[in-house]
């Protein structure tokens, strides 16, 4: 079972740094509460979709059914996203 910290690390390293190839930034420089889009990391809409795919691939959860509003909410920052992923993983285990 992955801890919340494991999840955060995977999101930062595997998805943001490696998958999106964010340059000039290390995983520990990404603040948990920093917005992923707009003023924070400045990800755009295409990158957002790749983050969704990255989460699906890394954690084996399906997000295709999510509405745009839900994506906006859960994908706000590393903190919100990792909490959401943890929730999803628990559901997978429980069901």
């Amino acid at each position: 079972m992955k801890t919340l910290n494991d999840i955060k690390e995977i999101i930062k390293v595997n998805i943001l740094i490696e998958r999106l190839e964010l340059e000039d930034i290390e995983a520990d420089e990404i603040e948990d509460d920093e917005p992923l889009f707009g003023d924070g990391l400045g990800l755009d809409s295409v990158e957002a979709l790749d983050v969704v795919s990255g989460v699906e691939a890394e954690f084996g959860i399906l997000l295709q059914v999510l509405e745009e509003e839900e994506i906006r909410q859960h994908f706000y920052s590393v903190a919100t996203l990792s909490a959401f992923v943890e929730e999803q993983l628990k559901e997978t285990v429980n069901s």
Binding site: L20, L22, E23, V46, E47, L49, S53, A57
Partner: protein
Amino acid sequence: MKTFQIAVTGIGILSALGQNKKETFENMKQNQTGIDNIQSFDASKFISNIGAEIKGYEPSDHFSPEEQTSFDRCSQYAILSIQEALGEAKLAQENIETIGLAFGTCNGGLNSLEQQNGLSNLDSQLTKNYPFFQQGDSVAKHFHFNGPVMTLNTACAASGNAIGFACDMLQHGYADAMIAGGSDSMSSSVYAGFNALKALNDKPCSPYNHRYGLSLGEGSAFLVLEPLEKALGREAKIYSVINGYGLSSDAYHETAPEPEGKGILHAVQMAVAQGGVENERIEYINTHGTGTKANDPAELKGLQSFFGDGFKDINVSSSKAYFGHNLGAAAAIEYATTLLALEHGLLPATIHFEKAREGCETAKLVTNEMRAETPDYFLCNNSAFGGHNASILSKNVFHSPQTPIFDSNSETTKQSDVVICGFGTVHALANKSGSILSSFTTHSSPKTKLEFSLKEYNKALYERRMNPLTQYSIGACDLAIKNSLQDKEWSEDIGLVYGTSRGSLKSAEKYLGSILDRGIDNASGVYFPDMVLNSTAGKIAKKFRIKGFSSSHSSGGTDGLHAMLYGTLTIKDGKQKTVLVGAGDEASDLSTEIDRALHLTESTYETTEGSTFLTLADKEIAVQQGLDVYAKVKGFGMSFNSEDNLYQTIQNSISRCLYDANLTVSDVDFIFYHNNNVSDTDEFIRLKSELGGIPISTLNDTFGYMESNGSLYHTQAAVELLALTEEEQQEITRSLGWTNGQLKTGLILTTSINGNCMAMAISK
């Protein structure tokens, strides 16, 4: 200059609705869709598993086993539809000496890589078909076309762009007839990309409907185009008369349209201005209408802002519910089938329509069934990844009550003179300001390793994951702007024409690699947008906010000169006052694999990379704005080696160019030639000996071979040289072994790997 009136005298179509135009139209009339379950690959892992594939297609019904090896699916589809179009047009050989081809494609030869399931140790036979000029060249060779041959790669607007380019070739007398259209075959990796972008609809698409999403398709359509007076003269069947076309760039986003539809608005404005038609006479618009959430309302907004109140009375439909999105073939299939409908007094419909989505309610949509109407003029619009837009304005010859199709008021209007007033190159041997002349005297041995980082050059111009091709090209474009427009007020309304034969293969490696590594259902959404070859042009446009006439093309060697040609015509025709023209090449492992397949590795030239940009301007504007005028563009000549006589082909290009420029051989002081030194060595040796009096040199042995950019690189060298005084010129030309006096006029000659030839004359 004659009024712009180009007749369509032949149509050929291969679509998901039929293997010829009759079958296709009959199915449209029955409100059938070609969208069905995908057969050509396993689509079960995607969010959608439908698409509009050609039904019951058997290559062996049409092509021998050898032909099936040399023609990939994309080429096969094109050949079949061109055959149909030529069969109908019955061009008589005695009147038609020069036939050219304008080929639009988005996916090009992508299937050839997909089939190999890897990116190294590639099979040469298959890989040879990958580069995006190969389909157009193979088809031109098959039909023995001998005029201008060009591949337009502006993604989903490519065939609209191709039709427009073909009209220009006829209007300026570079060909007697042109074949123009587009072809694309279904590609699993492109499907995977649209899946990654969540753009697919799990039901057959219906643009403007409340259910979002697009359906991908495949197919091909080509038109036979001739000047209207020629078509009337030989009493050909005329389907429509093209009166104008416009191209533009959103300069906004790599995949999403500018939300207010300003890009398509600019293209429509340009098309209608060229046609000189009152807005009220435009009575039907066949829109791009992909069905995605972003596209449909943006496009309608753009049109609404052009037509104002009148827009509510104009019939509008998207044909993508019949054919799916045919990408590079979309514009041609949609244009051609609009003509078939108009011939029967009908308008194409958007089928499967239930209710209009938000932002699409006010348009007068033709839904579910063809509508009986006979519009006077009509527009066909397309938009693309990279932000490219195309709009074609045409006269419906079946309009009732009949209005004259021939504008007898064909007065002569003045054509602008075009001058070169800026340059800039990023290359191992270029200096910091983008000049290449200084290294002529300092370097005698090749130096081809380029170290250029856009981030270091100017961080503001850089974006993450920007591929080297785009970095070089943005750098060169910036240098050319600094060298000409500087910080002078320059508006967004300038043009951009860009040539690249392969695009960024580093990005292609990343994208295709993501599929190989992670599976087709987990393709890289961030690298997919760079798979279209116009993505570099799109990024340049975005960085410099260039929103005018915008095009991107591939030819395998003549790309740079072609950019000069298209940019020049755009200024001559009054569409833009200033156009930036550029080309670029990037080295990569995959590129070396392709070099091997094309035998370019056998060349004595070292392959190199880089980009060159030149600033072209209307002479009057250049003088008015106080720009430096380095040289004048005098003329062009194009010829394709369809008869396996490359020397004759080069000769044809030169003589057509001299004729166009109103010059004789004795006016030419020097020739620079860009060749590949594999397929064309003997011809250039012969040319040198026959033109013994004229100094003739290539820079490729010192500066390296750049497939797309070489011809523009040579152009910049000539431009820099022409701008010097006689003494300064001689200091430079001594290193080339030239002994003549003042250089006033030069020719740039270029050949592609497939024997596409171009010549251009420029003068002091």
